[in-house]
């Protein structure tokens, strides 16, 4: 079974090929079956392989299989190899299972769209690229998947390309992530040049062997890889593309811009964690960036009116938590939060999609309200996701994953009180904005009519994800609450545990209680400010300082404004001045020369046989002359 590893990415790719080539001529039902079915089959294969892998001794190491060697020529043999270990298996399972649920949801959500087949083709291609990214055994192949998901993200943000706003959002996402990718590809060059391989395992071995901790090379290489991770995962200072990326269809936001692609940066750092451990300065930067991002995005989420934008900022903020965990060396806590986040955030996006569809594309939360009774299933599942996001203590998965991160932010050798404080402040913000959203949409008076209710294909994924958001966290419990270590034990073969200085352990319980209290306080505050006595919030927002702050947060803390002034405007101005680039002149000269030579040679093609015969004669003379006299 495990030999069929290649099948996992191959199935969605086959779906993509069929849909893109013949999709426009297939009936919609066939398109839906192919689109969702290929990913579903892939998920089944992934689960079967996962079961076999976990129950075999391979789980302690890894399984690598070369699926394709393009050519082999004097030592140059570019090959495609997939590597399965506990980390990539986790990613594969999340990508295929969540991916399948979102595909299933899309079958109904996109049912009225004219470009049905195009949508599923892109989605299948995305799943393929994401699987290649996580299964790649070398950084070059990983980069192929990395760019592949970027392309699909671009295509799907701009899916409704006839509206220029969407096309612009797609372009922004592409360009912003490209800035990070440029750093990353330079990092790959550097790694290959100094260590002589891009095969990840071998690369890490050589890095640890050749580079001492804190050496310049290790720092530069890790920093360059971090650039790529920051762009893809929408972290400060490259986070501005993600809120605009909500221009795409909502299931796309759920799959690409919440559950999978944006966490690729987290995966990259976890995958190359040995390298980051060699560069303590960069790793500290990861933690600081994570905290800064989670705070900036948390404040921004607080002021948004568009439901999807709240979720977008919340995604940025939650990935900030993952970066915080990576920064303090809590690798498996980061991956744990990734998995749980994938469940509840895609659930929230899918719930948002159900709301938006039911109310004829109403995304402004202030024009929604009282939907609790009209959309009961959506309400309960959305509530489950929101509770998990707000880390409601004890009963939600989100509590356990976030609690672990906060605990390590304090207790790890690389952690500090300040990081912990930032994380806790973020947790407060999170539960406020989350329940602000819940109260505005589902409680209060009804401000919009429900035109249409979601059907089975949309409800099933909601329910499944809601269950996962609640219970999936119980595979990893803190010492104080049962001490279950299934998850970190499982990842232990790839990701080392966090070293905790002695004497800290006793704090775990207290910190957990603080985190739990913060979450509950946040929910109460949200209830007070946005449902019970909204006047307080209104009055605060109407003061001069309140208005300014509200505007700042609404605009995502002004990064777009800053970049527009600082980078885009000067760049465009320079480009305009240099419109007739003088370097082009040389190329035009080359083209002109080629055209002139073509004209000259064409003149010899007279079509007269006698001229041609002379040509042969002269050619013969030249050749004989060369042979004899040279």
């Amino acid at each position: 079974m495990i030999d069929l590893l290649w099948l996992i990415p191959a199935l969605p790719f086959a779906g993509f090929l069929v849909l893109i080539l013949a999709g426009s001529r297939l009936p919609r039902i066939v398109v839906a079956v192919l689109g969702a079915g290929s990913v579903g089959f892939s998920a089944v294969v992934a689960c079967l392989i996962g079961i076999e892998f976990i129950s075999s001794p391979l789980v302690k190491t890894s399984f690598t299989r070369t699926v394709w060697t393009w050519m082999s020529f004097e030592g140059f043999s570019p090959s495609t190899s997939f590597c399965l270990d506990s980390l990539s298996l986790l990613m594969v399972l999340v990508v295929t299972v969540v991916g399948f649920l979102i595909h299933l949801y899309s079958v109904e959500f996109m049912a009225d769209d004219d470009a049905y087949h195009r949508y599923f083709a892109y989605m299948n291609l995305f799943v393929t690229a994401m699987l290649v990214l996580v299964l790649a055994d070398n950084l070059m192949l990983l980069y192929l998947g990395w760019e592949g998901v970027g392309l699909c993200s671009y295509l799907l943000i701009g899916f409704w390309y006839k509206d220029p706003v969407n096309a612009r959002a797609a372009m922004k996402a592409f360009v912003m992530t490209r800035i990070g990718d440029t750093g990353m590809i330079v990092g790959l060059f550097l790694l290959y040049n100094s260590l002589g391989t891009l095969e990840i395992h071998e690369l890490m071995v050589r890095a640890v062997r050749d580079w001492p901790v804190g050496s310049v090379m290790a720092t530069v290489a890790a920093a360059l890889l971090l650039c790529g991770a920051l762009g893809k995962s929408a972290q400060l200072p490259l986070q501005t593309w993600l809120p605009d990326a909500m221009a795409g269809p909502t299931p796309v936001s759920a799959l690409i811009h919440a559950a999978t692609m944006v966490t690729a940066g987290v995966y990259l750092i976890a995958r190359t964690h040995e390298l980051f451990a060699l560069a303590p300065a960069v790793q500290a930067a990861v933690a600081v960036i994570g905290v800064a991002t989670l705070l900036v995005a948390g404040f921004s989420a607080l002021a948004q009116q568009d439901l999807k934008r709240v979720l977008a900022y919340s995604t940025i903020s939650q990935i900030g938590y993952m970066f915080l965990a990576l920064g303090v060396g809590a690798w498996s806590a980061a991956m744990f939060h990734f998995a749980i986040h994938a469940f509840f955030k895609s659930l929230l996006f899918l719930g948002a999609g159900a709301i938006i569809m039911s109310t004829h594309h109403e995304q402004n939360m202030f024009r929604l309200g009282g939907l609790r009774t009209q959309l009961p299933v959506t309400f309960w599942t959305f509530l489950a996701g929101a509770a998990s996001l707000a880390a409601l203590p004890l009963i939600t998965s989100g509590f356990y994953s976030k609690d672990a991160i906060l605990w390590y932010a304090w207790s790890s050798e690389k952690g500090s009180v300040w990081l912990w404080l930032g994380g806790v402040a973020g947790a407060l913000l999170t539960s406020i904005y989350t329940f602000r959203m819940v109260f505005l949409i589902f409680f209060g008076e009804a401000r919009t009519k429900v035109y249409k209710r979601p059907g089975t294909a949309m409800l099933v994924p909601l329910i499944v994800l809601a269950v996962l958001s609640m219970v999936a966290g119980f595979i990893e419990l803190p010492h104080t609450l049962g001490d279950v270590r299934l998850f970190s034990g499982y990842l232990g073969a790839v990701l080392p545990p966090v070293p905790i200085p002695p004497g800290q352990a006793s704090l775990e319980g207290i910190l957990g209680i603080v985190a739990a209290a913060v979450s509950v306080v946040g929910i109460c505050l949200a209830y007070l400010l946005f449902l019970k006595v909204p006047q307080i919030a209104d009055r605060a927002a109407s003061t001069l300082a309140g208005r300014a702050l509200h505007r700042l947060w609404l605009e995502g803390c002004g990064f777009d404004w800053l970049y527009q002034r600082l980078l885009v405007f000067p760049f465009v101005t320079i480009a305009r001045i240099n419109r007739s680039d003088f370097i082009d002149f040389f190329y035009q000269l080359a083209a002109f020369l080629a055209e002139g030579l073509h004209q000259g040679l064409s003149a010899t093609q007279t079509g007269r046989t006698r001229h041609y015969a002379v040509g042969i004669g002269v050619g013969a003379l030249i050749i004989i002359g060369m042979a004899v006299w040279l």
Binding site: W68, T69, W70, M71, S72, F73, E74, A594, E595, L597, H598, Q599, L601, S602, T604, Q605, G607, T609, H611, Y612, A613, G615, I616, G617, V618, G619, A620, I622, I623, I624, M626, A627, V628, L630
Partner: protein, 475 residues
């Protein structure tokens, strides 16, 4: 000649016998489909003989013919190409006026000539094979004798080929005068003597070979003949005829180590550079698709010459692979032209291809794949071929040739992509004539599909095929 040697000759005997059978068949039955079927069957039967005789090889059969793995490979390639062209010719000829049956006879005879050339180890065998091939080709080009364009192309080819044959014969005579033998092995044994007579002779032989391969400066006929001949015949000239002659050239170069002589090296380098430059520049602004492919073939033979000059053990593999890729691409490209041609005229002007992707997407897809392969875009067979040529050039430090190849490939990209762009153009209201679907166009479609598949497989996963070449192709 003993029984084993006679047995080794079976493929050539079966091919000759099929020609005779076909001739008798035509005398009694003028059913197009029967004749085409018999031709295909004859080619297939000959092809099946190859694995049967392979275990006993190599065999020197009389001083004239040698059957070794190398010969078997190129005979097989010839037969496969001829087979594909029969399937492409059938619907094409079905759609045209006149009796098509003798065309197949000529095609079989030409294939016999090509097979003899590929297996010859003696100048006499080479010359006879070449003439069987050429004479059949004259008739094939001018087969539709009511068309002035075909006649003009046929006569041009006849006259110029005669000129080049004269050079070839004179060259052979000079070599004979010096060495007293026309056997390649005997010549090779005395090659160290050198001498001006043999040198001039070799140069003159090169003129004759260069003409057949359409290498610059003997390339002038190419575009006119390509344009004038029916598309399947053009494909035949471009592939089988050139492939067999190139196979002979490589065999000759390998036995008689001419590359050791600096003059020959210089001449071959000059011819290769001239072919690459002239071919690509001539195609640049050309608006006739058949002429574009003609000029592009000049350039491709120039690329092949780079691998030949690089020499070494690698040259055999590289040339074999490149020729296969070139055969696949060229046959499929002319196949598309044949399918698009109407009963009145060939689909040669570039305007016929504007917006093709929207009218006939599959056909445009096949043509696009072929053009990309000719341009050497990765994941096509053309890329691997070009990669190997460059690699062998680099490993022999032929910097001038490699640089020329790189620069002219960029020029080539322009006209290939220009054609692709034309196919994907959005054409306003196009007054498309009712599509003629001649009988048996299924065969041509199937050939195109198989060739496209082959192109991608050879480009994406060439290793098994390269292993096959390395195992088969040896002297």
């Amino acid at each position: 000649m003993n029984a084993v040697q006679l047995f080794a000759l079976t493929p050539l005997i079966v091919l000759s016998a099929s020609s005779v059978v076909l001739m008798l068949l035509i005398a009694f039955s003028r059913r197009h489909v029967t004749v085409a079927f018999m031709t295909a069957a004859g080619l297939l039967a000959t092809f099946l003989c190859l694995p049967a005789v392979y275990p006993d090889l190599p065999q020197q059969v009389t001083p004239l013919i040698v059957l070794d793995g190398y010969a078997v490979f190129f005979i097989g390639l010839t037969l496969a190409a001829a087979f594909a062209l029969v399937l492409i010719s059938y619907p094409y000829l079905q759609n045209r006026p006149g009796r098509p049956e003798e065309y197949y006879l000529l095609l079989l005879l030409a294939s016999l000539g090509a097979a003899v050339v590929a297996a010859s180890s003696h100048f006499a065998a080479f010359y006879i094979g070449l003439e069987i091939l050429s004479v059949s080709l004259y008739a094939m080009i001018a087969y539709e004798r009511w068309s002035l364009m075909r006649l003009e192309a046929g006569v041009k080819y006849l006259i110029l080929a005669a000129v080049s044959s004269a050079f070839l014969l004179f060259g052979i005579a000079l070599i004979y005068a010096q060495f007293g033998s026309m056997e390649f092995s005997a010549i090779a044994a005395r090659a160290a003597e050198g001498g001006i007579t043999a040198l001039v002779g070799s140069a003159m032989v090169l003129v004759g070979v260069g003409f057949k391969l359409a290498l610059a400066p003997f390339h002038m006929w190419t575009a006119d003949v390509y344009e004038g001949a029916p598309p399947p015949v053009t494909a035949y000239i471009a592939t089988v005829s050139k492939g067999a002659v190139f196979a002979l050239l490589l065999r000759y170069v390998n036995q008689y180590d001419v590359l050791a002589s600096p003059q020959v090296l210089l001449v071959l380098t000059a011819v290769a550079v001239a072919s690459m430059v002239v071919g690509n520049l001539l195609a640049l602004m050309q608006n006739n698709v058949k002429r574009i492919l003609a000029y592009s073939s000049i350039a491709h033979l120039g690329y092949l010459l780079v691998a030949l000059v690089a020499g070494g053990a690698l040259a055999l593999t590289v040339v074999s692979y490149y020729l296969v890729a070139y055969f696949v691409t060229t046959i499929a490209a002319f196949g598309v032209i044949a399918v698009l041609s109407t009963s009145e005229r060939d689909a040669a002007p570039i305007d016929d291809y504007r917006g093709l992707a929207w009218r006939r997407p599959w056909l445009a897809g096949v043509f696009t794949a072929m053009l990309l392969s000719l341009a050497g875009i990765p994941l096509t067979a053309g890329f691997i071929g070009k990669f190997y040529v460059v690699a062998s050039g680099v490993s022999s430090a032929l910097w001038l040739l490699v640089a020329t190849l790189a620069i002219t490939s960029v020029i080539g990209l322009f006209y290939y992509l220009r054609l692709v762009a034309a196919m994907f153009e959005q054409v306003e209201t196009h007054a498309t004539a009712a599509r003629e679907e001649p009988v048996g166009s299924f065969a041509a479609t199937a050939v195109l599909a198989v060739l496209t598949l082959l192109l991608v497989v050879l480009g994406a996963y060439p290793a098994p095929f390269i292993r096959l070449i390395a195992a088969t192709v040896s002297f």
